[in-house]
């Protein structure tokens, strides 16, 4: 399961794409990320699935585009 990351998260993960074992939903993904990458705990971030910001738990299926983003700072 590939996850694209942006902004300062590329420094936290040391890459702009990470691969994790498949999980069923975004809550499980969050739990797994916090376990595997303790450094992420200090960074606020947002999950987007298929280009929509996730606000509640979302079921994940193969082929979905999963993205981790730090708080926005455009403009």
């Amino acid at each position: 399961m590939d996850i694209q990351v942006f902004g300062r998260l590329t420094e936290v993960f040391g890459a702009d794409k990470i691969t994790v074992d498949p999980v069923n939903d975004t809550d499980s993904l969050l739990k797994k990320l916090r376990q595997d990458y303790p450094a992420i705990g200090e960074t606020g971030f947002i999950i987007a699935v298929d280009k929509k910001q996730v606000r509640e738990n979302v079921q994940l299926s193969p082929g979905m585009m999963i993205v981790l983003m730090p708080p926005f700072s455009g403009g």
Binding site: K51, S73, G74
Partner: protein, 147 residues
């Protein structure tokens, strides 16, 4: 939302004043317009812990940003009586003093143009997945935060 309607807002490098002039001039034939409101974001040479920001490097999750911008555009047009609206945001390294954001709204009456422009600027900052990395003179950096 049809794919073809999605407008690009991203430009590599700074927004040039000459481009702004061309954009203004292109509205001369739209004689229903009574007022234009323009906001320009300029890179500020902020001093942070005795270091000075000499540039900001912008990256974006472009596909999502453009979809979100399209939704914002539609909401703005349904809320205000606008003739047109143009948004340009820089990507890449923009030096202090250069322009990184150009929001341009036009309407028959000034109030709609001004209010729409302000709302679009706020929503761009809050809702578009764009990130600024503040570059200091000694090759260190810090990630910008919108406050």
């Amino acid at each position: 939302m049809s794919e073809k309607k999605i407008k690009n807002i991203f430009v590599q490098g700074p927004v040039a004043p000459a481009f702004i002039a061309e954009s203004i001039a292109s509205h001369k034939s739209k004689t229903g317009i009574g007022g234009h409101s323009i906001f320009l974001g300029q890179i500020r040479a902020d001093k942070i812990n005795e270091q000075t920001v000499h540039a900001i490097e912008y990256t974006a999750y472009e596909e999502m940003a453009l979809e979100r911008m399209q939704e914002i555009r539609e909401e703005i047009f349904s809320k205000y009586t606008l003739t047109c609206m143009h948004v340009h945001h820089s990507l890449g390294k923009i030096e202090a003093g250069d322009i990184c954001l150009f929001v341009f709204t036009s309407a028959p009456h000034r109030k709609a143009a001004m209010e729409a422009c302000e709302e679009v600027v706020e929503r761009i900052k809050a809702e578009l997945p764009i990130w600024g990395k503040e570059l200091f003179g000694d090759a260190t950096h810090q990630w910008k935060e919108n406050i």
